[in-house]
Symmetry: D2
Subunit: 344 residues, 4 copies
């Protein structure tokens, strides 16, 4: 059994981690911290865990709070993990940050988008970007994993076979993606009220979203050169799920994109390429660690359209973090991640 | 391993059975039938099962379709199981009917409410009503189990401690319950369209709902005498979940109802009595086999209000059927039923 | 034209007032105040009003802010209107409070439920309870109207014919009601987030809800004696709408309740009694000032079930306030209230 | 008063027409037909119209059913209006078809996409495409108006200023659009059930959607040359609303697109260009005839992103049909179309 600590488990990525780890056959949760909720039973805050989790939140500043933990997973807002990571790593504890502190290589870019000074820029270069479909070998050996963002997971997995193989015009990359409201976290904000978000759709942050540079960095790394990537996120009335619709111009319209995707993802346990003509539905991945993908070639054009669906809290956050944990610990990659989506 | 056959698995109770049994550690699915979908892959109809279930629907009239099956579970509309049960039982196969064919003891009442002639009235007396919290011992030995309806499960578990103990005025029993739309099944009916059922609430069948006599029969059996029970079902804009609000007059207002419920359900694996003052939310039982209950005593009155929440497709249908299967097969009652509800 | 001022128009009752008054043919809006938003364009806060309302929020403490207004309508949280009413009335301005400051006659009861000291208890006796179907004549002449709460409107209109005529056992009154989330206002509270309130139902405040004493007072006034009234409110995943399911024991089960309701409400412009056997849907009253009602007599019992549906923000708040305004000003009662609900 | 007849008013475009025309100050409804519902009260089928519409459905084949009507509006499925139009026009009745029979100029293209033979190809050339922002003058004089589709309205209004002025690379046009489920009509189809469509998003018909050729035809007509247009429609869990996200490469990235849109739409009563940086929400146009548009220029690229939001049943269907009716009859263009969207 591996002993895992959780920093800041009061939000949605925290509750999702608890749901997954409570049933993980090779993990025990050593401690879960929250400054605001210290002393409170976890099941009081998350009633779905009544009878399944008898942990109590502890103060993150307490002495030896993560003593004996092999891995610490950080489910805090941005800017917190970087204040804990140096000490934990020094103590020999491996760290997975589900937030964004270690995702962007260029410190100046990170500081501009996240509006704060980085607390440990020296660690950023060491951090492994936790997208197993790209960096599996490095994740296995990593001390510090930067778990990808939700949109970046859906978009990068969708573009990956095309960009890795140099098949598309890198100035034509566009993603129009929609997300459920849980992507905004558990903070109490008026636009996320049911009465505001139900029965409506809107784009947001079209002028600049933090996931744009993260995705652009990943695509550039796959391509070996910079890319021009337009990103349009939208809010839709559902709790969980991201659906990304990707668009690019093919250099050679005769390439068999269906075969390309099937081949690239054949051995991936969590990427499911639908048969030609398919349309992935977010409900079929809800609560699971799957990314379902379909590829289309609009008639009479040299364009390709890729559809990519994930659960933003599972493959887009805590599920992928558990997948990374499994890799780091030498477990089967699917351990504790065998959920089947509710239908309906 | 126990080999299970499924009759008519193309609806929502069928897909829920498949979800649960696909992960059940002591069950293999021997066959799943559908007249309409014979020959089709199960995962084509239920894309959430892609990669997790490689069964093909077979014709229910085929020769030896359930050969080797120990138990057959019927997930068909009402009136089908009764045409299969006699033959299956004769062949030594045990049967669980998730529909209503064997729930009502009085054949005339059944025929009136279900609008057809019963095909095997002689078997009704033998059928055990599959509410484990009332009939556990009999279920263990049953050849034929009549799995309770969704509303009847929520309402009977809510009233059970009061009625079993003779604590309430039996002419004062009322249940106002709401259900998600999956309770209406997968048939294509205009009132169940998203555009009709979203952003609205209505009561329905207040003049008479089939679950009224089923509940009245169960309460009368608990009480040892007839009861007067008013039932008002409602449709609300959610997919899964039943919330039943129960009302009764206490004979003795000084009784400690909280203690009564906690004691009665202390050892029940799937009934969770909330602390005093609680309000169960359907989302905390979604996809699980739990019934969460809270008890209230409105100030200045001799009334009791009980709140009872289940997932209509799990504890209200297929989950309870698996619980009954576990009892019949001598498995741990919770085997394959350890899901934690998604949050959020 | 009547000139109307609005106090505190930044919440949902405020935006609903603006929607209705912007199109009212006999009203001009003289001023709309908000401490927090003073100086901001109304349409910035409520983008649905872009191009239809060019008002700017003003400071409620400003000199002569309501100068020239004939009527001031208060759409603030509880406890604000009572600080403005004495001065406004002294200046000859009539006042409609959409919040609860003047609804409860017994000051001690009000102070207990609302947790504050009443600022002008002397005015409470003068205030007319703004339920036109009960108090039309008094509203016409009122200086100060206490607009009813949302649940109290649906429940009182539902019970009214039975209780006014002494037809029911006054110890048997029960209402199980569901509300959309807009009833909780525009405050940013975690339980009202889309990710928390969607795909779930729960009862709340079963131990005591502020609308219980308001309803009990109204029913007692109709009955001429105290009543025992149990109230169970629930939250459901919709934006607007209240559906109340009422239950009572008839003294004489042979009474023709359908005829009773049709007669009582024949001339009411905003109460629609459905044909026997009907089930009102909240969507059919959404955005309108209607209350649709159906009456049922469960077979084999001496009980009556009444179903009552309103839009909590229209007939349950701002629409009824405009109805009261029309009465006070001698306009046709339906002026500015002729909306037809969207379908679907 | 103008007398209007409605063919086939039992679907969602029919109920929306009834809602709008019932309150239109210069229109009376002469007749409304339905083969299936002949003899039934309109308000039985559409309970939101109880007390507001006392029409009865009549048989469309009846003698003189539209006698005395000045205009007939067809709200039927595709393929019906073309069987009525020749006779009506011959009788001097003007016709507005809300379906697709007269939208596509190229009969072969129409027959391929709609899978039937056109009944009156000779009339197609005469029909005026009812997008007032493009064809106002012609609509005024038209005998036969082809009301645009829902997606085509949102997408064409979004691209119009750019394409009319030759500012974009015509091989780079892409629209990713989402629609509420009412766009699929009132037919009872499993994928449109609440239990299937709620809490999920999917793209559909990416291999080919009937609105693609309609939009491509419109854009080509604006451009004066063929265009390459990729269209990706999606289904989202809401009842009403379309949000289209448009993407194109600017020939000259220095053009002031914000000013371009503000100028082009300055005098349009139903197009609202948001201030720079805006994001239109579908809820702000729900039930209204408005199209709200925002324009964005992603940093560091030569691309433009346009966001366009309409109500698919109002500006996307029946509202635009009433706008066309107003133009044809010489009424104020906004007559009967002054609804303000509910908020929330």
């Amino acid at each position: 059994m591996v002993k895992v600590g959780i920093i800041g488990g009061t939000g949605y990525t925290g509750s999702e981690l608890l749901r997954l780890l409570s049933r993980h056959p090779r993990v025990t949760i050593g401690a879960i911290t929250s400054r605001a909720e210290a002393g409170r039973n976890v099941a009081d805050l998350f009633p779905s865990l009544r009878g399944r989790c008898d942990l109590t939140f502890t103060d993150p500043e307490g002495e030896g709070v993560f003593a004996g933990c092999d891995v610490v997973m950080s489910a805090t807002p941005n800017g917190i993990a970087m204040t804990h990571a140096p000490r934990l790593l020094a103590e020999g504890v491996r760290v997975i940050d589900i937030a964004a502190d270690f995702r962007i290589r260029d410190i100046a870019v990170w500081e501009q988008w996240y509006g704060m000074k980085h607390a440990c820029p020296g660690l950023v270069a060491e951090a492994v970007y936790g997208l197993p479909e790209r960096h599996r070998a490095a994740i296995r050996k990593a001390r510090l994993v930067a778990n990808p963002g939700c949109y970046p997971t859906a978009v990068q997995l969708g573009f990956l076979p095309l960009v890795e193989n140099g098949l598309v015009d890198l100035s034509s990359l566009m993603a129009s993606a929609v997300s459920g409201t849980s992507g905004a976290g558990r903070g109490a904000h008026v636009p996320m009220l049911f009465a505001e978000a139900a029965e409506s759709v809107k784009a947001y942050a079209v002028g600049g979203h933090r996931h744009q540079p993260e995705i652009a960095q990943g695509l550039a790394q796959m391509a070996g050169q910079p890319v021009e990537f337009v990103f349009v996120p939208h809010l839709v009335p559902m709790i969980r799920g991201i659906h990304a619709t990707l668009y690019a111009r093919l250099k050679d319209p005769s390439v068999d994109v269906q075969a390309l995707y099937e081949t690239r993802y054949r051995d991936e346990p969590f990427v499911d390429v639908l048969p030609a003509g398919g349309h992935p539905e977010t409900r079929t991945v809800r609560g699971t660690n799957l990314c379902r993908i379909a590829v289309h070639r609009p008639k009479g054009t040299d364009k390709v359209v890729v559809l990519s669906a994930i659960d933003n809290l599972t493959k887009g956050a805590s599920g992928q973090a558990v997948q990374n944990l499994n890799l780091m610990c030498g477990f089967a990659e699917t351990e504790g991640l065998d959920e089947i989506a509710l239908f309906p």
